[in-house]
């Protein structure tokens, strides 16, 4: 008793406009009963963190295909820390070279999902990794 829907922010940081993947994910999460805030392409880390705070999301999924992930992801994580956001699940998808993945995980980004990942895997990942205390409606 007393669980609310999971709220997820799907965001595309950086300059590439390939948002098909992000839209597929957004749609799949919606169909899995989540509330998805989709903010579109060309988001700065500042915009992503601001949206995450105002919308009080449980998870942030970032998709990036431009290769700028090593510049943008650390900034997002830094801003989250600066704003005291420490209980939000962060995951990434898109074109992320294998050799970068350890460094990405090091930043606190829990999941990395490349092309070909089934939407089922991502739904499962979000459900299992969102902080359960966040979803409780009784204190």
């Amino acid at each position: 008793m007393g669980e609310r829907p999971i709220r997820v922010l799907v965001a595309k940081p950086g300059l590439d406009g390939h948002d098909r993947g992000a839209k597929v994910i957004a749609r799949a999460l919606r169909d899995a009963g989540m509330e998805v805030i989709y903010t579109g392409i060309r988001q700065t880390p500042e915009m992503i963190v601001e949206a995450a705070i105002q919308e009080d999301v449980d998870a942030i999924l970032m998709s990036i295909l431009s290769g700028a992930h090593m510049a943008l992801f650390p900034r997002v994580m830094e801003l989250l820390r600066e704003n005291g956001v420490d209980d939000v699940l962060v995951a990434a998808g898109g074109i992320l070279p294998d050799e970068d993945i350890p460094a990405i995980k090091e930043m606190g980004i829990k999941g990395c999902f490349g092309p070909g990942t089934s939407t089922e895997t991502i739904i499962q990942f979000v459900k299992e990794n969102v902080q359960p205390e966040r979803l409780a409606t009784e204190v």
Partner: protein, 299 residues
């Protein structure tokens, strides 16, 4: 906090009861209209105009929840990107979570929290269904109905519900062909309204174009005038009474609905439903029985 309210958590009610003391200062504006009429874009531009006037603005944007999965895609922020980075603008997306009438059940409470936090005005953007968004009337003080040109039949649909709830009409996309005609048709509809002469508030039609960034200052002015009018004419009190009444009713109905969920198990529901379908029982006596169980008097 807003998350707790939206979840209708029991603890939120305690906070809200305290917040009630601090709320009541903000001008609450409802923006409604058909899907694609340009509500989000208009809201975004209106907020920018209000920011020029040094207002601290909150936006509550409601998008529909899927009745099948219970999930939702909340995309209103996409059209409000120009507002990001401004600490005096707070945007919150809400899913309608099964509620009809263009708002979610807890929108009113979220607005109350923002009101208490000192945001003024607070803009509520409804789900675009194009009809029966009367719910917004029970929460907002000034209602703006957005009408896009080139939807001839839309005017027909508007005749019924929406015409009565509008305090201000905003015709969007004035840069598009046919916009003047839409304005003319609206003006004609308004002139047909028999109550128009009785009321001292003449519903203005504001021509806006987000593309050309025109009409937004006028819209902000008209909203301000409407607020002044509400206060001076005593209409604000009437509206508040109506709003409190509908809120109390809603709270009581909610309690009844919760009590019913508590008192009747899923299994019992299905067995009762089965019996009614097989004509072993009738819906009226079953309803009576359940009413009595949750403590409602039998009449």
């Amino acid at each position: 906090m807003v998350t707790l309210i939206e979840s209708e958590a029991p603890v939120a009610t305690r906070y809200l009861a305290q917040l009630h003391q601090h709320a009541g200062k903000a001008h609450i504006i409802g923006i409604t209209g058909s899907p694609g009429a340009g509500k989000s874009t208009l809201v975004s531009r209106l907020v920018r105009e209000l920011r020029k006037r040094e207002k601290k603005v909150a936006v509550v944007a409601v998008d529909p929840t899927s009745p099948f999965s219970g999930g939702a895609i909340l995309g209103d922020r996409i059209r409000m990107l120009e507002l990001s980075g401004d600490p005096n603008v707070f945007i919150r997306s809400m899913a309608s979570r099964g509620s009809l009438g263009g708002l979610s059940a807890s929108t009113r409470d979220v607005v109350r929290a923002m009101d208490a936090a000192g945001y003024d005005p607070i803009i509520i953007e409804t789900v675009g269904t194009g009809q029966a968004e009367v719910e917004v009337m029970r929460t907002a003080q000034s209602v703006v109905v957005v009408v896009a040109p080139g939807m001839g039949d839309d005017i027909q649909a508007i005749k019924a519900g929406i015409l009565e709830i509008a305090d201000i009409f905003a015709v969007s996309k004035m840069d598009k062909p046919g916009a003047q005609q839409t304005v003319a048709e609206l003006a004609m509809l308004l002139s047909l309204d028999p109550n128009r002469k009785k009321s001292s508030w003449r519903i203005p039609i504001v021509k806006t174009s987000a593309l050309k960034e025109s009409g937004l200052d006028e819209l902000a002015d008209r909203l301000q005038e409407h607020r002044t009018f509400l206060h001076e004419s005593g209409m604000m009190e009437t509206r508040e009474q109506r709003q409190v009444q509908s809120e109390l009713r809603a709270l009581i109905l909610q309690a009844v609905s919760h009590a019913l969920t508590e008192a009747v198990s899923e299994d019992e529901w299905s067995s009762l439903i089965d019996k009614i379908i097989r004509r072993e029982r009738d819906p009226y006596s079953v309803a009576r029985e359940l009413e009595a169980r949750i403590g409602l008097q039998q009449s």
